[in-house]
Structure formats: structure tokens, C-alpha cells
Symmetry: C2
DNA sequence: TCTATAGTTCTATTATATTCGAACAATGAT
DNA sequence: ATCATTGTTCGAATATAATAGAACTATAGA
């Protein structure tokens, strides 16, 4: 079962995270993952956009180090890399999530 | 003395802030302003780029609500809108500044 | 093996951003 | 008035990103 490659946390730049979160669709994906607090498939995160568009956004979230995707069968299980990011950039992601949680 | 218009804090979207901070040049401007903790002219913030490029980045920082620019004579005095942004998005900007302060 | 499912990758189109020289505007000083 | 200073705006080139249909890959199940 071939898995997707992710950046190690030390490869993650702050500007990568900012860039990934600058898109409303991606911010919503991240918010939904945080609210759920569990792994979710791409299909579960339905924002009324074509698969290819969603896949594009997931790819950017992964390359920014925000999301980890594990392949399980035909499904891709996505989760936030919250702890790792908090370790490297304390408070950043949590503050963003606190802000999006209100709306 | 005609002043530049800025968005009110309630007009500032989180994605605007993320977008503005996603550019390394702009993140550096914001970091320098925070470190200085005072108003700075555009000229003081010398990142070895042409005036027009710097002006462009300041414009985006202003439109994102991150920077306030007051015209004083021929100089444009820039400052971070830290308190306002902290009020609306608690922890976000401070966490980013804490991250950039280390490097 | 055939089929369905989940998601990626390819490709093209369109939209946005970045960069920076040159021209411009506003102020202050001589 | 003229000139220097500070920064903006314009314009055009180049680069990067978003969008989405179509083809493709990998796995699971019948």
C-alpha cells in the first residue's frame, strides 16, 4: 500500500502555512478537520466542488505540512498535523482555529 | 494633508491576514515593524527592493488591515495594527510574531 | 475478471500576483 | 518658483494559482 509523502515538520515554513490558510476553501477544510478531531476522507469533506479541485487543495495542505493523508484501502484518511505544528509554531494554528470556530 | 484609507477592523477577513503574511517580504516588513515597536517610514524598512515593489507590498499589508500608514509631511509612517487584530483574532498575529522573532 | 469507488494526475483555461522601471503627486526647503 | 525627497500609481512582462473536465491508478468486492 503505497503512501503519500509528506514534508517533515522541520521542512515546514511559516509562509507555507500562511499561504495554505489564505484560501477560504482550504481554511474550511482545516476547520472541519479540527472540529471533527478525527481522520476524515476527502469525500466526507464535501464543499460542493469537483473532486479534482478538492484534490488540488488537499495537495497544497499536505505540502504545507498542515494535513497528513494516510491511504487505507481506496480511501484517503486526512488529519491535521496539529501537535507537530504547535510544537514548531506555538499558538499559530490554534489561534486560527479559535478564530474560525466562532463563525 | 490627505490620508490613506484603511479598512475598519470589522472588514478584515482572516484569509486577508493569512494572504498578506504568506509573502516572505511582507512577513519581514511585519516582523520589523513589530520588533521596532514604533512607526517606521517605508524608507527605513530597506529590503533591497525597488520603491515600487515595496509600495506594492505595503499596499497589500494595508488592505489586509495589518498596517496603518499615516502621512506626515513627505514621509509615510507605518505601524502594525496589533491591538485591533489581537482583539478580533486573538493570538494569531502574536503567535506569528513569536515564530518570526526566533529566526 | 469485471465493476464500483476514491482520489490523483493531466491538461487547458482563466484569473491573480509579483516585479520593477518610469511617470506622477505631495510636501518641505531654498 | 524650483528642486529634492518620499512614496504612489501606471503599465507591461512574467510567474504563479485556481478551476474543473477527462483520463488514469489503486484497491476492494462480486
Amino acid at each position: 500500500m503505497r503512501q503519500i509523502k509528506h514534508p517533515t515538520i522541520d521542512q515546514v515554513e511559516l509562509t507555507d502555512i500562511m499561504y495554505a490558510l489564505a484560501d477560504p476553501t482550504r481554511l474550511e477544510i482545516v476547520t472541519l478537520l479540527a472540529k471533527a478531531g478525527r481522520k476524515m476522507t476527502c469525500g466526507e469533506i464535501d464543499l460542493n466542488r469537483p473532486k479534482s479541485s478538492m484534490s488540488h487543495h488537499f495537495k497544497i495542505l499536505r505540502s504545507a505540512g498542515l494535513v497528513e493523508t494516510l491511504i487505507e484501502g481506496t480511501e484517503h484518511m486526512n488529519s491535521l498535523r496539529l501537535e507537530e505544528i504547535e510544537q514548531k509554531y506555538p499558538g499559530v494554528l490554534n489561534a486560527v482555529l479559535k478564530a474560525t470556530a466562532k463563525s
